[in-house]
Symmetry: C2
């Protein structure tokens, strides 16, 4: 009997121990995940603290009655505004605050008009007229949210417009009461919105514009890493293929870029980004970068799918050209990315690397023209994979050039500063042979 009880106790304590262990493991896992999210972008932790701070500020303002005696129940609108309006970036916060303020003002005025109109129709007609007006305005406003331009910029404003109009129209209050209420509501929204904008502007501001700028630079750097990885690993048996994954995230960055560009539009000038900075041009660059990433995706498919055998001298030659093309393209993109990062006009090094890669492409064409004269080469079937890779690389050169051109256009329109060049000059090829292409940069006075 006693033994059984001890066994039971043991089982029970074991069960509790296991449960405790399990909970501990789960908690540790969650903590690790949260830590990673914070480490990936420490601004997230800062943002959370900023939201808490702004909310506490407004809450205490609301809590100390004497301070806000003029606000009454409307004080909660300040808290509501802070919670709903505070976004990660300055642009997002400003966009939502202005949308909220503007829409409340407009809808309030229209609501008063509606109330006035309904009053004219007598007691029986009033609810019908009000119901009709709410229906028409809500339906029409909701429809405008499908217009791309409205959706992009004023989506939240339209929502608040519908909300405020319905509340005012239906409140059933007399017009002078509404005016008083509207004044209260507007001033509290102003307090909430201003708190959000000030906190997000003054405490480690997160600029959507700068984020977009850096995202484009980072994406170009990823393509560069991909191409340079390919250049240095291609042909090595058993080499790492991790570089084949780098470009993947670039393929799906369109939505992020567009929302950052929308927010950036609302931001005041900051750092080297003035108001009227050509944010739209970043989307152009981003589009071409994605097209280039698509080419790299196909390239990486070719490398993964086909067994590339480099056996003949002919194939060796092609391989050498491929390596050169992709390394030089990678270097060109790296230069472009660095210039964006430094907010400077792309240096002449971009043109140098582009010319080098084009020279490699010409070299390749030469090799191929001489192919038919050497009949004892391996058959077409065998050399096809490397030919395809070469051809895609030639196309990639074109995209790299397009990226360089679009970034130059952006740099010009946005007034990027002149690069601090070690050398400035014209590029002059001095010695082209089969093995190496030497370029000389001739210093200009």
């Amino acid at each position: 009997m006693e033994i059984t009880s001890t066994t039971q106790e043991k089982t029970q304590s074991n069960f509790l121990k296991a449960m405790f262990e399990n909970l501990k493991v789960k908690f540790m896992e969650t903590a690790m995940k949260a830590k990673k999210i914070g480490e990936d972008d420490p601004r997230r932790i800062l943002h959370s603290i900023k939201v808490g701070f702004a909310l506490t500020l407004v809450s205490l303002f609301y809590y100390f009655r004497p301070l806000y005696d003029g606000f009454g129940q409307a004080g909660m609108w300040a808290i509501l505004t802070v919670v709903v309006v505070f976004e990660f970036s300055v642009g997002g916060t400003i966009s939502k605050s202005l949308n909220r303020g503007g829409a409340t003002l407009l809808a309030g005025a229209l609501g008063v008009g509606a109330e006035y109109l309904a009053n004219l129709c007598g007691e029986r007609g009033e609810p019908i007229v009000l119901g009709l007006l709410v229906f028409i305005l809500a339906a029409v406003s909701t429809f405008t949210r499908f217009i791309p331009k409205v959706k992009r910029r004023y989506d939240y404003g339209v929502l608040i417009f519908i909300l405020t109009f319905s509340l005012v129209a239906v409140s059933g209050a007399r017009i002078n009461e509404i005016m008083e209420l509207a004044q209260q509501r507007l001033s509290t929204i102003l307090i909430g919105g201003a708190t959000c904008i000030l906190v997000s502007l003054c405490i480690y501001p997160v600029w959507a514009g700068l984020d977009l700028h850096n995202l484009i630079a980072a994406n170009i750097l990823k393509l560069s890493a991909s191409l340079q990885g390919f250049g240095s690993e291609f042909g090595d048996v058993g080499s790492s293929t991790s570089y084949l994954q780098i470009h993947k995230s670039v393929l799906n960055s369109k939505t992020t870029e567009e929302s950052l560009a929308n927010f950036a539009w609302w931001e005041p000038s900051h750092g080297r980004f003035k108001i009227n900075h050509p944010w739209k041009l970043y989307l152009n660059v981003g589009g071409i970068v994605r097209q280039c990433a698509c080419q790299i995706e196909t390239l990486s498919g070719c490398i993964t799918n086909s067994k590339i055998q480099v056996v003949s001298k002919f194939q060796m030659k092609i391989q050498r050209s491929c390596v050169k093309m992709s390394l030089e393209c990678g270097k060109a993109l790296k230069e472009v990315s660095t210039s964006i990062k430094n907010i400077s006009i792309p240096s002449s090094a971009v043109a140098v690397h582009l010319n080098n890669s084009k020279a490699a492409a010409d070299e390749l064409k030469n090799i191929m023209e001489n192919y038919s004269s050497s009949p004892n080469e391996a058959d077409l079937q065998q050399i096809m994979p490397i030919l395809v890779i070469a051809s895609i690389l030639i196309d990639i050169i074109k995209f790299v050039e397009k990226i360089a051109v679009s970034v130059s256009e952006l740099a010009e329109k946005a007034g990027f500063k002149q690069a601090q060049l070690l050398h400035r000059g014209i590029v002059k090829p001095v010695n082209i042979n089969d093995d190496q292409l030497v370029l000389e940069i001739v210093e200009m006075k």
Copy 2:
């Protein structure tokens, strides 16, 4: 003098006319745009009407005081809920309603607890404790919004949680007052949410799940159209190249697919889509479809960039294989798309077309193996573009096969119905020659 005055009048009337004309043109343009948005998806018009209807319903409910005497000021929360919660799809509406309800309940309870705790700390300690609690909860909750899973499913809930907790904690009301307020608030949110869910469910419901299902089918059909267009136009001089644009929209559909899948998760069973329908598998299929679209993008780049000259007999043979591969791939994708559209298991026709395209690829390999034996062909440089196109098409076959496999897996897991086959049987090649591949479908008992 009189003449001048007449001239002035004329100028003025001309100016007014021009302004009127200008306004008329602008108005017409906007109307045309709006008409197009409505025509593109008439459900948008219906959605706008539904929002207007739900809002009018709740507004009138709020307007007729006698009906809602129990609600007091809280009645406006019903209107607020409708405006904020009503989404285009049923899943979106349910997701937001449940998030709002659940978060309000949880935050209300915690808020009461916070108020109780603060009360214990005396009059001087109360604001400090409340401020600290609001700060900590707002910061921690805001941080959880960066966790991908929370962001995907409970983003709106966390927002409402912060809002309600702050409002309750800061209200300064006694606990029994809060309980009463909470009951009011919850019942109004319930009325608002239930109105939205009912209207969006009962009046021409828009199912996010069905939209996702149709989007995947439409994207596969686009790739099919692209490949079939290429197959029928390739080699025709001066042929239309509009088919080169069809696949473009597929490249950027990831975000739409993901948000539809998130909303679909919340929807009750509808049509042939049960609860626990494997929505995640659609994202798998979508991912492979996008990879295939990337290959087609490279293919279309090749077609646009290179001048393909088909002069020799050898090139003619390759071209014929390319045409066959791309037509058959296109047909296979069309069958896959049709089967998804009909919610049925992909028919054996998919395998037939895939086998045909593989046979064409084998044929191509044969042609290439025999190339080195005919030395007076054009040089490598000249045949390279068509070789690259052929190679990409061979890769595309692999992706089409992957799409077919992933759709079959989806069809199996989701319990799609058996296709209504005209023929069901095994496929048997009966006659393979250089020109044509004949397949016979042997009827099974």
